[in-house]
Structures are given as structure tokens and as C-alpha cells.
């Protein structure tokens, strides 16, 4: 290079090859645009062109559409297609023992905090003056005391009462899956609605969207789904049990058979018989979400 000197070396003058005309002669306006802006614009165009080309090329190849080999099944020997899981709750049989709540928390590693339960039992009591009181002490996990603990019910005589177990309805037309902004909650092929704890941002939209109050944001406690606190959680109908042919834990331990579960696609199954003969109904059909937990007994008339 040039010998070191105080002034910077002059740019060498180069005669352009024949046939090429200097820029400034073609368009004098170009000289007006500063060099740095030109470079920036040129660079930007290259990047945009590259990105659009890449995006376009990657869209040309479908990633996973109708490949010959299907992905491995969810659980070996479990075919989710064609399953019509149905849950029937008999509110006239329930005695409010709370064993279902205990079993659910034990089975699914739900936080022990009493404010959060995937399934719970409510007592609906009508006093002699006709007022209706609903109470659910700690979700019913320790059973129920003799009289209603609802505010305003102290000292009043209860004319009639019944227990109403509640859980996620796994609605056909679920508002929770519709409103999730990141599509973290979704419906599986067999109709069970699950939450992906890796994608949930904890905004709580699904919690306010559920008409049945089945969802909550898992607190920062010892036990949380996939060790991820702060994400939405809810009853999954014990997906890990039903995919192995077992019953959900709450159905398993109910001492009076107030909860029934099965695959209604088999017309000879117990659950299909119940649905056919006793015509259970969903709660609050006016919400329009088409819940799949069907109720028998006084809970249906009251709703």
C-alpha cells in the first residue's frame, strides 16, 4: 500500500471497463443521494429479496401433510379416533364425601392449595324461606359440615339440599380453545381439551372465558403441571388413565357411583345405556358451548 503519511491515501483513479458508464452520468440525481443512504437501501433490498425468496421457497414444501407413515400413536395401542368419551354425573346419588377431590389432587399432582381444584363438589341448599345457597368448603375436599357455610345461611333451616360435583365439561364448542391467543390450549382427536404448559403465557383469557369455571392459573406452589407454574390448568378427564383403558381417578374412588365414565361409541357399554335410558342433560345449555358432561338428578332442574 502507500507509504505511511499524515494524509489518507488518495483513491486511485481507475478507468472503467469499456461499455460501462459511470452512475453519475446516467442519472445526475444519484449524486444527490448520499453514499451511506444508497448503501443502506441496496442492502435492505437484498435482505428483503432474500427473505421473501426464502419464505416463498419454504412455503412450497408442505411440512407434514398426508405422509405415508403416520406419526407414532399417543400411547401404544390407543387409537383416539372414534372414541366418544362421555361423563355422566348423578347429583341425586352424590353424598358430598369429597373423595373425588382428594383422588384428583393425588392422581394429577394438583397443588394442595384449597383455592385451586380441577374437580370439586358444591352443595346447593334451599332454606325454608326459599333462598338458594351454594357452598363448597375448600372445594369439598374434607367433606361437608352439617349446615351450609354459605354467607347468609347461618342459622337457617335447610328444606332440601343436593350435591353437585363439577369438573371440566370438555365442551364440543369450547370457548377456551377459541380465545387462546397463542393456541396453547387445544382439543385432541378424542375430544379432550388440554393445555400445553410450554406455550401458555398465563394471560388468563381462557380462565375468564370458561362459563363453568373449570380453569385456573396454576399458582407458584410445589406442584404444577410439567413443573411450570403460572400457566393455565384444568381437569383433563385423567387423559393418562383413559388412554390406558382405566377410569379417571374421581370415577374410580366414588363410593356411591355418582360419577360414571365410558366410551359411548360402544352401544352395549354401561355409559351408552345410561345415556339412552336415563337421558342425562348438560348444565347451562344456554351458554351454547355444548358441554360433554351430562347430569342426572336435581342439578339439571336447578340450572
Amino acid at each position: 500500500m502507500a507509504a505511511p503519511s499524515a494524509t489518507p491515501p488518495a483513491t486511485p483513479s481507475v478507468t472503467p471497463p469499456a461499455g460501462l458508464v459511470p452512475l453519475t452520468e446516467i442519472a445526475p440525481a444519484i449524486a444527490a443521494i448520499s453514499v451511506s443512504r444508497r448503501r443502506f437501501l441496496g442492502f435492505g433490498l437484498a435482505i428483503i429479496g432474500g427473505l421473501s425468496g426464502a419464505a416463498g421457497l419454504s412455503r412450497l414444501f408442505p411440512v407434514f401433510e398426508d405422509t405415508e407413515s403416520a406419526p407414532p400413536p399417543i400411547i401404544p395401542a390407543y387409537d383416539p379416533v372414534g372414541k366418544a368419551w362421555t361423563f355422566v354425573v348423578d347429583s341425586s346419588a352424590c353424598i358430598g364425601c369429597g373423595l373425588c377431590v382428594v383422588a384428583c389432587k393425588e392422581e394429577n399432582d394438583v397443588t394442595e392449595d384449597a383455592r385451586f381444584a380441577r374437580t370439586w363438589v358444591e352443595r346447593h341448599a334451599v332454606t325454608t324461606d326459599g333462598t338458594r345457597y351454594v357452598d363448597s368448603p375448600d372445594g369439598g375436599i374434607d367433606g361437608f359440615p352439617a349446615t351450609s357455610t354459605a354467607p347468609g345461611a347461618e342459622g337457617k333451616t335447610v328444606a332440601e339440599a343436593f350435591f353437585e360435583p363439577r369438573l371440566c365439561m370438555q365442551c364440543e364448542d369450547s370457548p377456551c380453545t377459541a380465545v387462546c391467543p397463542v393456541s396453547a390450549t387445544y382439543k385432541t382427536e378424542d375430544g379432550i381439551i388440554l393445555v400445553d404448559p410450554r406455550r401458555c403465557i398465563g394471560c388468563g383469557y381462557c380462565v375468564v372465558a370458561c362459563p363453568y369455571g373449570a380453569r385456573y392459573i396454576a399458582p407458584a406452589a410445589d406442584r404444577s403441571p410439567n413443573d411450570t407454574p403460572g400457566v393455565a390448568d384444568k381437569c383433563t378427564w385423567c387423559y393418562h388413565r383413559i388412554s390406558r383403558g382405566d377410569l379417571p381417578a374421581c370415577v374410580e374412588v366414588c363410593p356411591v357411583g355418582a360419577r360414571k365414565f365410558g366410551d359411548a361409541s360402544d352401544p352395549k357399554s354401561e355409559i351408552a345405556t345410561i345415556v339412552r335410558e336415563r337421558a342425562p342433560k348438560p348444565l347451562h345449555p344456554e351458554f351454547g358451548t355444548r358441554p360433554r358432561v351430562l347430569y342426572l338428578g336435581p342439578a339439571v332442574e336447578e340450572a
Binding site: 377431590v101 384449597a114 383455592r115 385451586f116 381444584a117 380441577r118 370439586w120 358444591e122 345457597y133 351454594v134 357452598d135 363448597s136 375448600d138 372445594g139 369439598g140 375436599i141 354459605a150 354467607p151 347468609g152 363439577r166 370457548p175 380453545t177 377459541a178 380465545v179 387462546c180 391467543p181 397463542v182 393456541s183 396453547a184 406455550r199 401458555c200 403465557i201 398465563g202 394471560c203 388468563g204 383469557y205 380462565v207 375468564v208 372465558a209 370458561c210 362459563p211 369455571g213 373449570a214 380453569r215 385456573y216 392459573i217 399458582p219 407458584a220 407454574p229 403460572g230 400457566v231 344456554e286 351458554f287 351454547g288 358451548t289
Partner: protein, 431 residues
């Protein structure tokens, strides 16, 4: 704005970038500024200093500091987010009459509204980032995985577009690109209608919350946005007039009367919509809607609703802008402040009323009402957001040139439309 390796020049002020020189320049500037300004900035910085640890305390795993429960999942932070988000849209809506349609009375609002809108939107995003439990996941989850069934996703899309458009608008405002500025203002005005409407739809699609459910919620949000943006402009322009800031003469003669007429419009609109909602709630046979309305009118929210939202926030401002005795600059300022307080209270009662009806969720039965009391941290975050906007705007007012420029061409001015189809008159076209 011109930047070199050694210094940054913005609107005539040069800031050296070497650390020691920058610090010296900062101290020099702080000593030199007028005493009231020093006190005001010190106060704002003090508030922010208190708020920042509170905000940090709410980061993971500190979520338990929020007062929300499964029966009342959306609390004060959501209220704050909605309030600042609709304020930012309202600012562009209110000033679109000047920027997009070129009406002379609204021209003074040009530059100030853009700064305020940008600050307000940044505050809204900051609040929601603190409310979400995993905000980074939202960037990847919402951007790369579209969820078109979710109104919240669309709200994110539209407010994202709005942010980009606002940035372009502010940039072009200070770097002399009038046509880009015009296009950006038009785009911002359009987005400023769609975005709060989508925010209203976030509440309006929920069948589980009959108080929010329905087609009037998006309309109420847009009307609230208009009112809120106008009130903020009223407050700011009163300060411009009283402190004699840049453009104060036009502020008193043009901007403040213009803001007064916008306020009147906004107050009447919001009053009609709120009245409609209360009447619909009283006559409704959906129990949650009826009990939510009952909570607002005679229940736990009654004091906030009647005392603050209706009387202080709607009736008194309407009187102030209607009665000849109070159609003054001070009267407009008072009306603006009260209307703004009214809109904030309206957001709060709105979000509360939707969740207050007795319900049972995740094992908790609430009776007679679902309860929620905001924790100190949530209040601190909201106060911090307001202080942030005040601080940003004060600095912008001091160091940027916020007077109107005469370069902004009216893209679609009413006179242009009128003159297209006029019969040619002997004097020729008159603009």
C-alpha cells in the same frame, strides 16, 4: 437528528456521548433548567424509583403479589392496559380531524398527540408485559403461530401495526417527510378505530360473562377511546397554554376550543352508551348480567359508578362544557381531568362488573359477590406507567420542537372534495 461517534444532536440540543462528558452535560442541564421543572422532574423520578422495585417484585416467581383469583382473574393491570391502550388510540382518533382531514382548528394537535400516543402505547405494553406470566413466549407464540379465532390475537396484531405506524409517524414528523407523515397519520387513524374495537371484542365475545358479552362492547371501547384521548389532549394543552410553551397562542385560540367540542361529542356519546348498557342490564333475564348491573347500580360498585363515573366523570364535565359561564380554558381543563378520571373508573367498573357476579370456579364458590382488591404492587405499576408517560412527555416538550409545521399536506381535505364537483364560477376555483 444527527448522530456521530462523539455526540447526538436532536432538535438543536447536542449531547456528547462519552460517559464523563455526557454526565457533565446532564448535570449542567439539570442545574440550568427552571426551578419548577426541576421539582416536577425530581418528583416523577422519585415516583419511578419507588415503582421500579415493585415492578421487579412482580416478575416470576413473584406472581402471587397480584390480587387475582380464579373467580376474578383480570384485575387492575388489565384495567390499566385497557385504559392506556384506548387512550393511545383515542389520541390518534381525536387529532385525525387535523392530520387526516386538514381541518384548521385541529392542526395544533398534530405533533403533541403523536408523542403522547407513542408513550401511552409503550406504557400499555409495559403493563401487559408485567401482567403476563411468560411474556417472551407471547412473542414467539403469537407471532409465529397465528390464532385467528382469538380476538386477543387480533388485538395484538392491530396494536402491533399501530405501534409500527406510530413510530413511522413520529419519525417522519421530526425528519421532514411530509408525505410519509400524511400516509402514516391516515393509517394510524384507521388503526385507531380498529384496534380499540378489537379490544372491545376481546371482552365482547365471552358468553361466560354476560355483562361484557354483546356487540356494544367494541363500540363502547371506541367511544371511550375518543373521550380518553381528547381529555388527555385537553390536559396537555392547558399546560401548554398556562406554561407558555411552544405554540401557546394557537393553543388558546384554536386547540382548546376544538378540544372542547370534541369533549362534548365524546361525553354525549359515552353517556348514551353507558345509559343503554344499564337499561339493558336492568331488563335482562340473564342472571349474571342482571346481578352485574345490580352490583354497579346498588351493589359494591355503586359508589364508584354513580359518584365517580357518572357524576364526576360525565355529568360535571358535560355541564362544564355546556354552560356559557364555564366554557373557558380553565373550564375545559377541569372537564378534561374529570372526564379522564371518569374513563379510568369506567374501565375499572367495567372489568369488575364482568367478573363480580357470584359464580363457582375451581372449587371456590363466591357469594354474594366475587371479591377482588388490588394489591399495592398492582397500584404501583399503574402509577409508574402514568409517571413514565408524564416524564417522557415533559422531556419531549422540553427538548423537541412540538409546534405545528405548515408542511403537512392535507391528503383528503374537505375543500378539495368540494371543489372537484363545483360548477365553474367566473372567479375560477376557490380553495
Amino acid at each position: 437528528m444527527l448522530g456521530t461517534a462523539r455526540s447526538l444532536t436532536l432538535a438543536g440540543h447536542t449531547v456528547p456521548l462519552a460517559p464523563r462528558a455526557a454526565l457533565a452535560a446532564l448535570v449542567h442541564e439539570a442545574v440550568r433548567m427552571p426551578r419548577p421543572l426541576q421539582i416536577w422532574l425530581a418528583f416523577l423520578l422519585g415516583v419511578l424509583a419507588l415503582v421500579v422495585p415493585a415492578a421487579l417484585a412482580s416478575l416470576p416467581p413473584g406472581w402471587e403479589v397480584m390480587g387475582t383469583t380464579p373467580t376474578f382473574e383480570w384485575g387492575l393491570l388489565i384495567v390499566g392496559y385497557v385504559f392506556f391502550a384506548i387512550t393511545t388510540s383515542g389520541l390518534c382518533l381525536a387529532s385525525s380531524l387535523g392530520t387526516v382531514f386538514g381541518i384548521e382548528r385541529f392542526r395544533p394537535l398534530e405533533k403533541r398527540h403523536a408523542i403522547l400516543a407513542l408513550l401511552s402505547l409503550m406504557a400499555a405494553f409495559g403493563i401487559i408485559a408485567l401482567d403476563l406470566h411468560y411474556p417472551i413466549r407471547m412473542v414467539f407464540g403469537a407471532v409465529f403461530v397465528p390464532s385467528p379465532t382469538s380476538p386477543m390475537w387480533w388485538m395484538g396484531v392491530f396494536y402491533g401495526i399501530y405501534l409500527c405506524v406510530l413510530l413511522v409517524e413520529v419519525w417522519s414528523m421530526f425528519t421532514d417527510h411530509p408525505r410519509i407523515h400524511q400516509a402514516a397519520c391516515t393509517m394510524a387513524a384507521c388503526t385507531a378505530i380498529v384496534a380499540p374495537a378489537t379490544l372491545g371484542a376481546v371482552f365482547g365475545v365471552l358468553v361466560a360473562r354476560p355483562f361484557w358479552n354483546g356487540p356494544f362492547t367494541p363500540i363502547l371501547m371506541v367511544a371511550s377511546a375518543f373521550l380518553s384521548g381528547t381529555s388527555l389532549l385537553g390536559i396537555v394543552f392547558f399546560a401548554v397554554h398556562r406554561l407558555g410553551l411552544v405554540g401557546a397562542d394557537r393553543a388558546a385560540s384554536l386547540a382548546i376550543p376544538a378540544i372542547r367540542s370534541l369533549l362534548t361529542l365524546g361525553l354525549i356519546l359515552v353517556s348514551l352508551l353507558v345509559a343503554r348498557q344499564m337499561i339493558a342490564g336492568l331488563l335482562s333475564d340473564r342472571p349474571a348480567f342482571a346481578s352485574a348491573t345490580e352490583a354497579l347500580l346498588t351493589g359494591p360498585l355503586a359508589l364508584e359508578f354513580w359518584g365517580v363515573r357518572v357524576v364526576l366523570g360525565l355529568v360535571v364535565p358535560l355541564l362544564l362544557v355546556a354552560l356559557p359561564a364555564t366554557r373557558t380554558i380553565n373550564g375545559t381543563f377541569a372537564a378534561s381531568i374529570l372526564a379522564m378520571i371518569g374513563v379510568f373508573t369506567d374501565r375499572m367498573t367495567f372489568v369488575s362488573a364482568g367478573q363480580i357476579a357470584p359464580t363457582s370456579a375451581s372449587g371456590v364458590v363466591t357469594a354474594p359477590w366475587s371479591t377482588y382488591s388490588p394489591s399495592l404492587i398492582e397500584v404501583a405499576i399503574l402509577v409508574g406507567a402514568a409517571a413514565f408517560i408524564a416524564l417522557g412527555y415533559t422531556l419531549a416538550e422540553r427538548y423537541l420542537d412540538l409546534s405545528e409545521s405548515s408542511d403537512v399536506h392535507a391528503y383528503v381535505s374537505l375543500s378539495w372534495i368540494r371543489n372537484r364537483f363545483r360548477r365553474p364560477s367566473p372567479e375560477g376555483d376557490v380553495r
